[in-house]
């Protein structure tokens, strides 16, 4: 059995947002991406706690950029998804797809 972490729903959303953003994934853009794609507005606290937890699990990595004057000389903390993180989110998504396959939800249009 490979070392793949079980993910909660919000953890998957954060991982997918980071993957979508590529090299420009930091707190502000991750939150904006989540709002734009899911129409849910996570609190900053929930987002940073989740990012820290994902980093401790080894699913994301973070590094500090250069300080910028727009942020009062404060650096951005950029995030990237590790190979383990990619595998974990892919596995979770496959599970969802297997569960959904052949299932017709009443009132929901299927692609």
């Amino acid at each position: 059995m490979p070392d793949v972490q079980t993910l909660g729903e919000f953890e998957q959303i954060v991982l997918l947002a980071i993957l979508r953003l590529g090299e420009n994934a930091y707190g502000v853009t991750i939150r904006e991406e989540i709002i734009a794609r899911t129409e849910r507005e996570p609190s900053p606290g929930a987002l940073y706690v989740t990012l820290d937890r994902l980093e401790e699990k080894g699913l994301v990595r973070s590094q500090f950029g250069d300080p910028t004057p727009q942020r009062g000389g404060r650096a951005k903390r950029f995030f990237s998804v590790s190979a383990k993180g990619v595998e974990s989110v892919a596995r979770a998504q496959r599970s969802y797809q297997r569960l959904m396959k052949g299932l017709k939800l009443p009132g929901v249009a299927h692609a």
């Binding site: 930091y26 939150r31 900053p44 606290g45 940073y48 820290d52 903390r77």
Partner: protein
Amino acid sequence: MRNAQLAEWILSLVTSPERAAATVGDLMENASELGMFWLGVLRTAGSLLWREFAEDPANLMGLAFRGFLLQFALLLAFFALFLIPVGLAGLIAGLFWNPTANIFDFSVFATVGQVLGIGLTLLVSFQVGRWMARRSPGRELAPVIAFTILDFAISSAAGMIFLRQDTLSQFLLSLVLGFVWSALFQIPAFAGAVWVRTKQTPR
């Protein structure tokens, strides 16, 4: 910006200074109003603090229980050392009291006793906060959360046993007030934990 420095200091109590600075930068970028900025800072600090507690609640509750026993023992010891002598002095003074001469003002003894009692309670709470924080390196503030929960649970249990609430609303009100009181009572302990945290090497 003075506000941002204060926000950074608050967040550095629950995360590393580098992460605190980056988070404040994000919140400055995000928040268009000062109120939103501070709401973001406090919510983030609260979430990170709660996470520190939720990572290891059993050990932290154990530490809080030992802190509770230490607080009880210290208060008992201080009571014996300071308040009993003050009471005895008042008693002795009373023996020599002459109502016509009126040379003793007994309200002085009561005031001294009250000031000593409040001061010692605050000092003990502060020291217990420091004691717990030193035993929880890396998450110095989390034991105070555990302590607040324990204090609330004990005072609520005592309230349910000894105080009679006739209606559900009275019961709920007493729970809410009890929690607020428990949280306020932990301010000196929280200050003690902050004291230790600011003296520790950054994580």
